[in-house]
């Protein structure tokens, strides 16, 4: 069971490293979107500080979402997904591996980069810490929920935008608790409550999502 998960993670990481462009572009997308806001909203530091948690979290959401269409699409197009579905073990295990690899490649770098961008918005140190923590806790849920959407829209024309339509509403709780934790810290209220809710969300999503995605993939493969 662990063997197959590890094999899938290993393969996906190897592929991601072969085309580093992907990881780098997701990060740059994150940076650019975050930087667009001061341009659109204007440079007042007070305003920006209030904005920061929301903007950083929304940008993380969007960056994750943009990398989702390819989560299964490459494997689908070249027939690897079929082979995974035909392997003599449940497809949910392979999907678990893929979700985990996706998080390592997309969520983790975002979380590590976020404090640097937070500095640009003049966030205090404890808020930066909570920001990183909330992203570390919340992004796995984004990968998990996103996998369901990616599986449901697999192979559909216009899949990318349809995918965001399906996934963004489901991301909203993660966004509220994630940004809420940072907001609460900035306001001096302490973000522990939000963070523990976020952790609960992530656990639920990771337990449930691979199997829902596997079911959706089987439908797509018919």
């Amino acid at each position: 069971m662990l063997k197959i998960i590890a094999a899938v993670i290993g393969r996906d990481l190897k592929l991601a490293l072969r085309r580093q462009a992907d990881i780098v572009s997701a990060l740059f997308f994150f940076i650019i979107v975050v930087s667009l806001f001061p341009l659109g909203v204007g440079p007042e530091p007070d305003l920006l500080r209030k904005l920061a948690p929301g903007v950083l979290w929304v940008a993380a959401l969007l960056a994750t979402m943009l990398s989702l269409p390819r989560l299964f699409a490459d494997d689908h197009r070249d027939g690897t997904l079929e082979q995974l579905a035909l392997a003599p073990h449940p497809l949910g295990l392979a999907v678990t591996g893929k979700v985990f690899a996706h998080w390592l490649v997309s969520g983790l770098p975002l979380a590590l980069l976020a404090p640097v961008l937070g500095l640009q918005f003049d966030l205090p140190t404890d808020a930066l810490l909570v920001l990183t923590g909330s992203l570390l806790l919340g992004t796995p849920a984004l990968s998990g929920i996103g996998a369901i959407g990616a599986a449901l829209t697999l192979g559909l024309r216009g899949g990318g935008i349809l995918l965001s339509l399906l996934v963004l509403p489901l991301y909203i709780p993660v966004l509220i608790f994630g940004a809420g934790a940072v907001d609460a810290t900035v306001a001096g209220l302490g973000g522990e409550g939000h963070l523990s809710l976020l952790a609960a969300l992530t656990f639920a999503a990771l337990g449930f999502a691979p199997w829902a995605s596997a079911a959706a993939l089987k439908i797509a493969l018919e």
Binding site: I4, R18, D74, T80, Q83, L84, A85, P88, P90, E222
Partner: protein, 204 residues
């Protein structure tokens, strides 16, 4: 060993076929024929358990495949329209990985040997995206060289191959049949399989 009874297939809203049945034993090849759109690919996807049949059932060693799907799949090897290879990886990596993901054991020596047999010696370490269409197909086919699973299901395996490669693949399939394996295959090109019993099934 493999039997299908009264299969029916509906795709979209069209009934492609109904009441299709066959039996296939060790050493036999089922050669699936039919005009474009007759439902050959659809039938193969039913046989490998990806497409639930509209009616009828598929038996493997006397039992419905959906009741023993993991065991069945451990004896099944499928090769579809797509090559199931990753363009960024080398032929060697592809071969080793696809074995790992299918829960097979394949040593590196065996993999190198297989690649040599399909005429890719010297290119084991070149990323697959630099190969031509036919060479990519050969990487996919290299899986079959060391494949010892009982049932092979091949959808148009000869597409994109040149004459030499076609003959080689026919030989590989013969070997499989001689070892007592079963195979189901479609192709629009007439190809000679030197050994084994060939049964034909025509759709539509």
């Amino acid at each position: 060993m493999l039997a299908a009874e009264q299969l029916a297939c509906v795709r979209g809203e069209r009934r492609l076929f109904a009441n299709v049945g066959f039996r296939l034993d060790g050493g036999e090849l089922l050669y699936l024929q039919g005009r474009n759109g007759a439902g050959k690919t659809s039938l193969l996807r039913m046989l490998i358990g990806l497409l639930p049949p509209e009616a009828g059932q598929i038996l493997w060693r006397g039992q419905d495949i959906h009741e023993q799907i993991d065991e069945y799949r451990a004896e099944l090897c499928y090769l579809g329209h797509h090559n199931a290879i990753k363009e960024e990886l080398t032929p060697l990596e592809n071969l080793l990985l696809s074995a790992r993901l299918a829960d097979e054991t394949l040593s590196e020596d065996d993999a190198l040997d297989a690649l040599e047999q399909v005429g890719l010696a010297g290119r084991e370490d070149l990323a697959c995206k630099y190969l031509s269409q036919g060479q990519k197909r050969r990487v996919a086919l290299a899986r079959l060289v060391k494949e010892r699973r009982a049932l092979w299901v091949l959808d148009e395996p000869f597409v994109a191959l040149d004459v030499a490669a076609v003959a080689w693949l026919a030989g590989i399939i013969s070997g499989h049949l001689q070892r007592g394996g079963l195979a189901v295959m479609t192709t629009h090109q007439p190809v000679d399989i030197p050994a084994g019993t060939v049964r034909e099934l025509r759709l539509g």
